[in-house]
Amino acid sequence: MRAKNKQISATYHNPESQDMREITAALDDRHAMVRKSTLQKLALTKWDSAQLPLVREQVLIRLADSSVMVQRQAVKTLLSLKLEAAPDELLVLMTTTEDQTLRTLIRSTLRRIQLRGERAEGVLEERKDVEYIFSVSDFILYLNQLLSQEIVRIKGEVSEIKTFRDNLVFFSLRDAAGVVNCWFPKNYQYQWGVELQDGLEVVAKVKPQISAKSGRFGLRVLELTLCGAGSLKMALEKITRKLEAEGLFAAERKRRLPFLPDQIGLITGDDSAAYSDFVKVLLARMGGTKVHFAPVRVQGVGSIAEICGAIKYLNNLEPAGPGSRLDVIVLTRGGGSLEDLQSFNSEEVTRAVFSSTMPIVAAVGHEQDWSLAELAADLRASTPSNAAELLIPDRLSLLNELDSRVKFCRQSFDHLIGLRRQSVSDLVKELAGSLERRITYYNGLINSLNFHFQSLIRKWSQAQASFTLYQTGLLSNFENYYRLKKHRFQALYQLLLSYSPRAVLKRGYSVVKIGAQILKSASQAKVGEEINIYPYEGEIKSEVKEIRN
């Protein structure tokens, strides 16, 4: 159904190529939603005066539609078709319908048509002049009538976004000094491809309106575009943060790529430089590969759905030939501005890349910033050619590698044989060598033994000779010494003898003792005490008679 809507709108963009039959068919579609949205589209299209009556006729038929929803839309559409007089069908419907809303809608439409007519005739001007008194609803109708001519584009910053009953979006558009309230049916944002968010700078094509119910002034947004790269960048940062938090770019989720893929899925633009670059490098590097090429639009309306669809298609592809699945998918395109890369930066494509069961190589010919699709891919290449280089090893260098490996094995093996031969001869050499060394050693030992023995004998006889010599010398020395000492001893002995107390006693002196004590003073004795006197010879016992000090 969506596809059908798009088809219709596409034709309307170019009024010259209008095909009334197609419109009639869409208006007769068995789905009420299709009929309604066709009517909506009719209201938004600018018709030239030749087409207007035809379109009006078609819309008038729809007033008799079986669906009230379609009837209401037909009434709204009629109003935009610049009717100068109220058609009878409208009057009939107002009296016959049971739908209250529809009736109100018709009444207000009739009033507007009337006002429009009056304005055309200059009645409105007249009314102001003569202090005409409006009813409230008439005044609102009157103002809206004036305002509806004023379709303008406004640039401003989005804030305070609110969704009403999941089908109307309200937001404020502001700049430094002012603010206006805007609204639009939620579905429209899919057509515009703009996800509203706070702080986003946009250009809105708006039609001013006053709500009859609330009296509020608001701008009905007819078209919304992002304003410049700054705005896109912000939106990109927001998605990046969101997907990063979900782990879509996590290194540990990256899968290993097959070493030499046989079946490659390629998603890129048809007839694009990216396509020819990739295939060219592929052909130059290696044969025997099969490429399943999915041509898609890589930017603009519909590119997201095509890329996502292609990823899904290739994931389920069961190609003939070796294996039953592709080995890898390559998603690539040339470089471009941030706007060009929008689909590669979109949440949908990034998620599709992430959830692919095949490993994906993504490459946007753009060195600096990575697109989100590249961040989510298992491998990122800088350009389409680089993707082919990373994916497919070069045939020649692989052959060289193989050759050098085989060569190395052969050399190593030869070396092994050489080692074995060497080791046998080494063993013999070593044995001979060690025998020789041993003989030399013993020879040396014998020689040195002989030498030591000789020197020992020599030393022994020397020692004997010197001993005899010493012995004679020693004897004569001792005799001299002894004789000298004997004389000296006798002299000393005489001297010693002359010092003895007995020599003194011999000269006539006596020693007096009381008990064992030698008496040196008379006061040591008492009268009547017994004392012993020792002359040179014998002993005299005596008694003290008198003491004189």
Partner: protein, 76 residues
């Protein structure tokens, strides 16, 4: 899991052979092989290199353009 096992057979042969060859080279590099095992490894290396060369000698590369409305596969 089933996806990785469904990889094409020649692909696996090539990659496995190439890896095995590398392992043999490393074994030789360590220089711990004796003559008998060395001979076995050498014979195997020759066989593996042959398998790899067979894949590398393939010349033809085919590109098949898929004619589908890819958008139709999205959101299904």
């Amino acid at each position: 899991m089933s996806d990785s096992t469904k990889q094409s057979s020649t692909n696996i042969n090539f990659e496995a052979s190439f890896k095995k060859l590398e392992a043999i080279v490393r074994e030789f590099e360590r220089g711990e092989l004796d003559l008998e095992v060395g001979l076995e490894r050498f014979k195997e290396a020759l066989k593996l290199a042959e398998t790899c060369k067979k894949r590398l000698d393939e010349v033809e590369t085919k590109v098949v353009k898929i004619k589908e409305q890819f958008a139709d596969f999205y959101q299904k």
